[in-house]
Symmetry: C2
Subunit: 335 residues, 2 copies
């Protein structure tokens, strides 16, 4: 039984873009499981943009991480010891067990899910296309975006863990899927590997014209992961009765001066529905979503890319890089 | 039979705030009705913020008014001659017959409605609480705002034709109704005459604190008529799962530099649904809305104020004043 645990703690609240020394990597003593508990060895840690919000001491849908606490985060790992009847040694579990190698948790914890491994679906997929990002894409696109065949769906951060699934779901629905991503490499990946109809580079000097050329019939659904000036640009091409699932605003999380969205009048004249959502509000959608996503992944109808950092100590650096858009696809840390 | 007609034409597209010489008042020859037509003597013309949008040559939900054309506008009047079997001399009709004293129209025109006068409901109410503004309030609040008893409903432009009805409908639903209006006189009217629970003055230096004091339990529904910095302020007090029916942006219509809304992240973290709407998209809601509104007006459960300008030639000046917020309640022109 392991007796020490490596953890990443929130050492300081970042101002603007996080820095590596906003975190501290520590070794702490690890107890044996008590009655009702299990000990999990995490194999992969998921790094996601929402974590930036948890580092602020601000009112939000979830409490902030306290200073000195282990950073929150989704994990997949295996049970190494169990004193809970539902779990046995060797079981694979996903949960939000945080930035740490081991986790000693109550077996009855909400969100702790035992995974039945299935051919064609790697473990890490349960943190990506078949996990929280995939379910986010599924709920946001289908329940809020309500796309209809033939409509144009534009996806921000299209090379990211959520966006990559959104576009593929849009294609499976019979829509035209247009990605927005940062840089030529990501755009090529979005079109060639993920099968979007086109992808525009938000760093390009001709972005406005590129977006217009890629959306000749306007935009019916904009899956918003980014925010900032891009939202104004999209609002300039939005169609009447369009829907905007507001999933993330990664361009804004570290901004000390948020961007002001000017084209609000387009929301009015086009009768747009813009709706913020958080996947954890709709736990009732997980079973259906996860089952269908796993099926599509196994059939290779949904493909995905991962960027994997090695070792827990690399997590802060990888997280900062992800906020800058340095990753392609799902950002993971192998523990 | 009258042989000339006074009309107000759009002479020039306004840049920013309209000026009186953007309009021209003309006398034109009037024909007798041909087969299928009716001649209407308009008694009241409605002046509404949406008209500012129609003066721009911009893509919107309705075509712009062409230069030299009669300005669009809702009217109530009486039939002076009819060659259509559905109408008789003396019938009272509402429609969008424009800024003119007489209108020669096809009796089969869409939107031309014969009014059955009813005790306690004055003719002019069919341009206000029982007409387009009232139905706008009804559809926007009930169908998009979906208020529940006990919730806090905040209403922009609360002393205006739409806002005044929204707040009274919120009270009839068992909500806390908070108005936002410009100046002490309007705020007093909103509370004392219209029965809102409180009203804050958007011109006050203490607006932010005043709004906080009036909404101790946050904001569940914000009926947006105004836009600009007020929207950011409201987003700072919005509750999780709040709804924002986006009905108008009167602060922005004449702005050449639109205000940038900064607190978009609040829409995300609070999972807010913001939805632009136009009442004419939902003609199916008119019969129910109009019937219930007329009933509430007759019972004095909905009261309203009117600001009446005298004579068609005063319409441009009255319209400019309305955009500045100089009116109290529904702005009309008596013809």
């Amino acid at each position: 039984m392991p007796t020490t645990n490596k953890q990443v703690l929130l050492a300081r609240r970042p101002y603007g873009e996080p820095k590596e020394d906003d975190f501290s990597v520590v070794d702490t003593a690890l107890d044996d499981p008590r009655e009702g508990q299990i000990l999990v060895r995490n194999r992969f840690l998921s790094l996601d943009p929402y974590m930036r919000g948890r580092m602020n001491d601000a009112k939000s849908y979830a409490a902030p991480v306290a200073l000195g606490d282990v950073m929150v985060g989704g994990t997949v790992g295996e049970v190494v010891a169990s004193k809970h009847p539902r779990f046995r040694q060797g079981d694979v579990v996903t949960g939000a067990l945080g930035w740490q190698e081991h986790a000693l948790v109550e077996g009855a914890s909400a969100g702790l899910v035992k995974i039945k491994e299935r051919p064609g679906v790697p473990l890490s997929a349960y943190l990506g296309a078949v996990g929280m990002p995939g379910v986010t894409a599924y709920h946001g696109l289908f329940d809020i975006g309500t796309p209809k065949p033939g409509e144009t769906v534009v996806v921000g951060a299209a090379a990211g863990a959520v966006g990559s699934v959104v576009g593929q779901l849009a294609k499976l629905t019979g829509c035209r899927a247009i990605g927005i991503a940062g840089g030529a490499e990501k755009c090529a990946h979005v079109v060639k590997d993920l099968g979007f109809d086109a992808c525009v580079d938000h760093r390009s000097a001709t972005l406005k014209d590129d977006l217009a050329a890629a959306t000749p019939a306007g935009i019916d659904v904009y899956f918003e992961n980014v925010g900032g000036p891009l939202l104004d640009l999209v609002l300039g091409r939005i169609n009447p009765f369009a829907r905007i699932p507001l999933c993330g605003l990664v361009s804004q999380y570290s901004e000390t001066q948020p961007y002001g969205v000017k084209n609000v009048v387009s929301l009015l004249t086009n009768r747009v529905r813009l709706q913020g959502f958080v996947v954890s509000d709709r736990m009732d959608r997980w079973p259906e979503a996860q089952q269908r996503l796993a099926g599509w992944v196994a059939e290779k109808k949904i493909v995905f890319r991962e960027t994997v950092a090695e070792g827990l100590a690399s997590a802060p650096r990888a997280f900062i890089g992800m906020l800058r858009g340095e990753n392609l696809g799902k950002q993971l840390v192998r523990l």
